[in-house]
């Protein structure tokens, strides 16, 4: 385990921001910390990094207890904070060089690392620019470069794609994969479930400061009863027949949304052919018919009763 968080509790006066939060990160993985805005993701990161005091709990990084004075641990950590945190009167290159220099003392090595970081985030044409001249997406890229230039073993990325254009977003996501391939362990917070699904080997879903569940994408989806949703639209159907839909094997719920019916199944096998059989038997005609596998949103929905999307 590269990071171990045990029963972390953090209170802001009355508000309980983290409520016995637990987390384990394995070397070499990309861990997604997924949850709605305000669920405690950033607070968790800040506590892990010893930026915030916490009320209870243990934190270990690289097998050692993390404290504000753990400079040896800090040497191998990179943080990409949520807000763009750079010096406004230094150019792109100077900023990266400055922050890299806080970790890497060797001049030649640093020079190489800075070049690589610039290449990595694709800011080569902008090295002489001041941050305020950069577009939102490019600023984010600079923000990332400042956090990862020193090639840390463990990287925290706190919602690096918020308010970023599609092009920059894909660039950033690809970059994160590359960082991981090069050997960095990554902790990635987001409230975009698509990103988490696409990027993360393992995901922790948080809500109200607690970790609801954790596991791989598939494990998470396996945890919920719904395993398949079939959306079907009929050209004509009477209520009797709708009732009869429930008799199809493994149906757990039917929901009417406008003219369509969403039929939820609890087991993934043969559902579509069973439904088609039903349609044939009852002489129904359908206008549309498709099957959906559950998303993380369904997982979240089933666990908390609310949607993850805002």
């Amino acid at each position: 385990m590269i990071v171990k968080v045990n029963n972390l509790v953090k209170r802001y006066k009355e508000l309980i921001a983290l409520d016995h939060f637990n987390m384990e990160v394995k070397e070499g993985e990309i861990l997604g910390l997924l949850g709605p805005n305000g669920c405690g993701k950033t607070t968790a990161i800040n506590c892990i990094l010893s930026l915030l005091n916490f009320d209870k709990g243990e934190i270990e990084i690289f097998g050692e207890k993390m404290t504000p004075n753990s400079y040896n641990i800090k040497r191998d950590i990179g943080l990409v904070p949520q807000e763009v945190s750079v010096l406004h009167n230094l150019t792109v290159k100077e900023n990266i060089d400055y922050f890299c220099g806080l970790y890497i003392e060797d001049k030649n090595l640093r020079k190489q690392y800075v070049e690589e970081a610039i290449e990595f985030v694709g800011l080569k044409d902008y090295i002489k620019f001041y941050p305020k001249k950069l577009s939102g997406g490019l600023k984010r890229r600079l923000n990332i470069a400042c956090g990862i230039a020193h090639k840390p073993r463990l990287i925290f990325l706190d919602e690096p794609t918020v308010a970023v254009d599609a092009q920059s977003r894909n660039f950033i996501l690809d970059g994160i994969k590359k960082l991981n391939q090069e050997g960095s362990t990554i902790i990635y917070t987001t409230h975009y479930l698509e990103e988490a699904e696409m990027l993360c080997k393992r995901i922790i879903i948080m809500d109200n400061g607690k970790n609801l569940v954790s596991g791989t994408n598939e494990e998470l989806k396996a945890m919920i009863t719904t395993t398949e949703k079939i959306v079907v639209g009929f050209s004509e159907i009477d209520n009797n027949k709708v009732k009869k839909l429930e008799d199809i094997p493994q149906v757990i719920d039917i929901e009417k949304r406008q003219d369509d019916y969403i039929i939820k199944f609890e087991n993934g096998l043969n559902n579509l052919s069973n439904l088609l059989d039903f349609i044939k038997e009852n002489n129904l005609t359908y206008t549309k018919l498709y099957s959906q596998l559950p998303t993380l949103n369904d997982v979240f929905l089933e666990l908390t009763g609310k949607e993850l999307r805002d």
Binding site: Y12, N46, L49, S50, L51, L52, N53, P68, N69, Y71, N72, K74, R75, I77, L79, P81, E83, V84, S85, V86, L87, H88, N89, L90, E94, D97, Y98, F99, G101, L102, Y103, E105, C146, G147
Partner: protein, 351 residues
């Protein structure tokens, strides 16, 4: 050591490229110096002149009064006297019996009275007029000149030396994770906070001393004011002023979670008020303070610097210099200790 130097270099670069830093620390003091110079240049060669006195048209002492070079004599008809006095067109009116009419008590009125007294007294002494030898001046003036308004400029230098307050505020927000985004980054690096604080202080000191040098150069070569004769002590006070400013800035910086703008305004106002009381805007305010609240002059750091710059350079007096240095050092130490106490906590309750 290499790290410290590199840190200084970048923090310094970040500061001097900041337009508002350039304006407030470099340009603004020069503008103030210009204002002072313009406003006080009239005062600097102030002498006693132009006291307007009215006399009746048949006055017997007209010829005597005309001898006094700083009096302007106006012959007035009786009915105009009162109005002219009211409007302060004349300071006093002398009637034929050597009675003086004035509107208020003041130095100009007293001077007119002294002259009239003398005329009356000479008459009363009853010796031949040739016994009076008006050509002799029995007084040996031991003053050195040019100390009139120069205090204002020492005050300005004192104020600007305390401008280390701004980089002081900035450096705290740079290293405190709960004050800025950058602070979060800085806090998770393997470098100690004290390293950042040290580089911030060095940069502040160097940049501010440069600004001080520019101002002093401007005063010396452009305004042609000769302010410094005692370089050693002057430098010490300017240096301590700088340290005091930075310490105060760091103190204000760590004292609350308010944003940097609010703290900067707080800094400007603190320094401005202290300078005000040390006589920067008008020497009268210093005089007033010395009379009403003498302890302020002893404790007000800007006053200490101002007074000592004046004393060592113009009076050649270094008697109480040490006292001033010690008080300022105490300020620096107390402020630094409190700030250190706050800065030592490395994790925050909220960010």
């Amino acid at each position: 050591m290499k790290n410290l130097f590199r840190n200084c270099l970048y923090i310094g670069r970040n500061s001097y490229r900041d337009k508002s830093f350039l304006f407030w620390v470099l340009i603004y003091p020069l503008i103030l110096a210009m204002f002072f110079y313009i406003a006080f240049s009239g005062v600097m060669d102030m002498e006693l002149k132009n006291i307007d006195v009215g006399i009746s048209s048949e006055s017997s002492i007209e010829f005597v009064l005309k001898e006094v070079e700083f009096l302007n004599i106006y012959k007035l008809p009786e009915h105009e006297v009162k109005e002219r006095l009211q409007n302060e067109e004349i300071e006093g009116f002398i009637d034929d019996d050597l009675n003086l009419f004035v509107k208020k008590s003041g130095i100009r009125q007293t001077i007119i009275k002294e002259i009239l007294d003398q005329i009356k007294q000479m008459d009363s002494l009853n010796v031949p007029i040739e016994n009076f030898d008006f050509d002799v001046d029995y007084i040996l003036d031991k003053n050195q000149k040019a100390d009139t308004i120069i205090i204002v400029f020492y005050s300005l230098i004192a104020m600007v030396s305390a401008y280390g307050i701004f980089p002081g505020i900035e450096v705290t927000s740079f290293i405190q994770a709960n004050l800025s985004n950058i602070g979060q980054r800085v806090n998770i690096t393997p470098l100690k906070k004290i390293d950042f604080l040290l580089s911030g202080t060095i940069v502040s000191l160097v940049l501010n001393l440069l600004a001080n040098g520019l101002l002093i150069g401007f005063m010396k070569y452009v305004l042609k004011l000769d302010l410094f004769t005692e370089i050693k002590y002057s430098l010490i006070f300017i240096l301590i002023g700088n340290l005091f400013g930075i310490a105060l800035g760091i103190f204000i910086g760590v004292s609350s979670k308010q944003n940097e703008n609010v703290k900067t305004i707080l800094g400007i106002v603190t320094v401005l008020i202290l300078s005000f009381f040390s006589g920067m805007m008008s020497p009268d305010i210093k005089i007033m303070m010395d009379q009403k609240l003498p302890i302020m002059g002893k404790l007000n750091p800007i006053s200490i610097i101002t007074n000592n710059l004046y004393k060592v350079n113009l009076l050649g007096n270094t008697q109480n210099t040490l006292e001033g240095i010690i008080i300022l050092c105490i300020y620096c130490m107390v402020l630094s200790l409190i700030s250190y106490g706050v800065l030592r906590r490395k994790s925050y309750d909220s960010i």
